[in-house]
Symmetry: D2
Subunit: 277 residues, 4 copies
């Protein structure tokens, strides 16, 4: 049996020893191990992939006994596919990229389907025999629309919500239901060009590099913990539509990377930042 153990807590002497002792005395092999201490905040992060036959309940009890009270402990079975729900609006580049990766087996997930506020992408999604949940906002208040999306999502019970160019701003109410589970792709190299139409902003500013940012969504627009970023160089010859087209390639690569990191349980979030092993 294989499990991934993620621990973060206040740092103190002997933590690695105490934790590895519990693994060892329960007959578990350490397949992969990473630690990091954030010195400024005195915070310890450890991610360990273990294998072997063991009493995992006992192991968990011993870890809780020996770790500091404030410790966050996650013990996750490897091999169980994460249930992922996609959200999209009209643009196909990120969604299509995820669908192809899913189709080819590159993304080791269970795809629950796609929630959208427009029907533009329905034909694409149905090519892949996946449910397409159209929740049109027409005639609804923002709250009403969002409540329908929340209800639908709660019913599907995803492990991860991926906003693949979902052009609706989520309220704190939405976020509170799925805290730490929502990944967004922002079409810009945050924190530059926060907000609408960043490629137009980038064009106006005359930047020589554009980028994209995948981040967890929190209650502050475009300010959640950053998971992955990438950039590409540009010059004066790019109009803003060309910047946008070029940006789409970065967006899809960065979003796919963030999804992979999330479903492989590689990400810690602490103090609005990520630690990623």
């Amino acid at each position: 049996m294989e499990k991934t153990v993620l621990i973060d807590c206040e740092d103190s002497t002997g933590l690695i020893y105490k934790i590895s002792k519990i693994f060892f005395e329960n007959g578990l092999n350490v397949e992969k191990n990473d630690e990091f201490v954030e010195k400024e905040k005195n915070r310890f992060f450890m991610r360990t992939e273990i294998s072997g036959e063991a009493d995992f309940e006992l192991m968990e009890k011993l870890l809780r006994r020996d770790l500091p009270k404030d410790a966050n402990l996650r013990i996750i079975e490897k091999g169980r596919k994460k249930k992922v729900l996609l959200f999209a609006t009209k643009e196909s580049h990120c969604l299509g990229d995820i669908l192809i990766r899913y189709y080819s087996g590159e993304l080791d997930i269970e795809l629950l389907g796609v929630v959208a506020n427009h029907d533009t992408l329905q034909p694409l999604v149905e090519k892949f025999n996946l449910p397409f949940y159209l929740v049109s906002a027409e005639g609804l208040s923002r709250e009403e629309h969002e409540q329908k999306v929340i209800d639908l999502t709660l019913g599907l019970n995803p492990d991860l919500l991926v906003l693949a160019k979902y052009m609706r701003i989520l309220t704190p109410n939405f976020v509170s239901h799925f805290d730490g589970k929502i990944v967004n792709i922002h079409h810009s190299f945050l924190p530059a060009f926060i907000g609408a139409n960043p490629y137009k902003q980038a064009y106006e500013r005359g930047v020589k590099i554009i980028g994209a940012t995948a981040h967890f969504v929190n209650n502050h627009l475009d300010e959640g913990p950053i998971i992955a970023q990438d950039v590409v160089k540009v010059d004066h010859s790019y109009g803003w539509e060309e910047l946008r087209n070029l940006g789409r390639d970065i967006e899809k690569i960065v979003l796919a990377k963030a999804i992979t990191l999330a479903v492989e349980d590689r990400i810690f979030v602490y103090d609005n930042k990520t630690v990623i092993f």
Copy 2:
């Protein structure tokens, strides 16, 4: 004889023809030629390296006759070294890099010396037998200090002022004296992290990429036309000092690139953006 001709003006039909006709009929070879039309603003940019024996005064008159009234025309003799004045404070990485490039002949400039508000870098500068102009700000108002620097600079009459980590904010008065001639290196990937201590800001924000920006200085702090940018990937394990150290490598490369572009007369500035051939 070799000259570089830079033209920017409102776009209209036949500009390339009219200009190349003048070069051809004056017996000039086109060694290198670049044009660009900024469609959104209907602006034409052309940079041509020409060679040959010709009546350049006549050529200029013909160009002025046939180009639109608003045209900016620069005709620059190749081979005359640009006079460059450096400005620094205490940090040596950009200054040292420029000095080594100058020493090795890589930067084809005439270095007038270094202006500094501290004496920290004096021993380094003097190793290279260059004048070190110490203008201490001690006991002076900001205006008094800046006036001394302006007077000194006017006396040296540089073609280009390079702020190689000069930690003083320039007033509009200063800028107005050397408009379009001041290159600064900003220790950040603008427009992210404007202002003080950007590496600390980047660390706090948890970005996965840091960068640097070389730009012309205008009257809006950190908002002048961008000349060059570059970035490097980072992760959670970098403390802010490490981000700063890593950033220094980018800063010096980006600043050296901007200086080269400027002294080779490759940069147009229009509408707070650069066109670079």
Copy 3:
């Protein structure tokens, strides 16, 4: 009417003037213009996008009259979609990426279908309502199989052949039928790791960067003119399968870029190298 004119020939004085004169006197607007002179080989390259109502036959005759005898002249109507034929084997990442870009309208081409030597990708291709031409190599000699592929391709008459992970080595006979029209993606940063299993080679060598190369196919395996390359940094923690997975993202981006450059008529090939505007 809009056309793209591509000229390459021996360099001589006044070429730009002569060419722009013909455009001007035929009442054509120059929308975009790029030139380059390869000094070492004294070769002139020019690509111009022109618009306007004109006698294009006359224009072509004038160009041929005034250009050197050895000049290559291509005058291409803008707006006519290039006919593209894809070739694949079993891997879906490049093929799927092209299909999604085609579906979203990002690739402005007419897709003739997919030729494959295995049926693995048939379901994927048929999702997009495109012809899937299975030419199995079973029971055939290499020559027999290739002849069937040549006959099929000749019948479809594509402007461009894209090898999207087509794992068959093409003979000079094949190449001679479609010279200059075949784009391949090589899963390596050429000229490093020529030949089979480059990610395994890269792993064994312990490189810190991997890459991919799109190139035109000539008669020397992996040695055709390079169109586009990109790379990504790696470290010791990547096993060779991980290098391969990471490489797939680069492969698809680089191949899509090469296709775009080819169908937009931006590429010159000369002396086994490309000049790209």
Copy 4:
């Protein structure tokens, strides 16, 4: 007291536990810890920064008792500056960059001086008040010249030899004297363009990216374990001298990075590859 402990050995169950137990029971704090298991070769690598007052001799004995017989164990005092000897010929970009970093305190090393086979760089080195050891090859056989360099180097007893564009090929005899201690910068993205004049080779091949590689020197030219690599994008407009000039920036950054990794004891070498923490 602070030490860095580096262990590599065959992997087996409980290694982290056994090692961290020894640290813990000797009252040592783990400041930073990294492990990696190379699955294909079943090799365990661990680097730990420890602090505290302890009987380090006892700690080492316990480690040797509990680790596999084949284990490589290095226990290095932090704070002792590494003695570094530079080797150069005529080019100043890498040497100058190291000198400036040394001058500014960025490189935390003791610089023993510069060995050169030409006197070109003597004035530069002497600006920094460092010994310049000229060992001219004139009138000497290759063996005689190298023996003089070996003798000189042995007398200076450096921890690290840095070939900063030293254009002499080292014999196995030289390497055997300083095995694992020689860092070279290769002006190419290895394994592409092995051997002489790689920028000319890159130009002829028409690559779209150039790079540089820092590696340990072994007895096979350009085939030692790779420490660091970086690249930059280029296009058809770069002549080979421009490729070389651009390459110099990458060379100096990559070499400085490799030096830093080496003097901070972050590098393991195993099976001609590096593991770097």
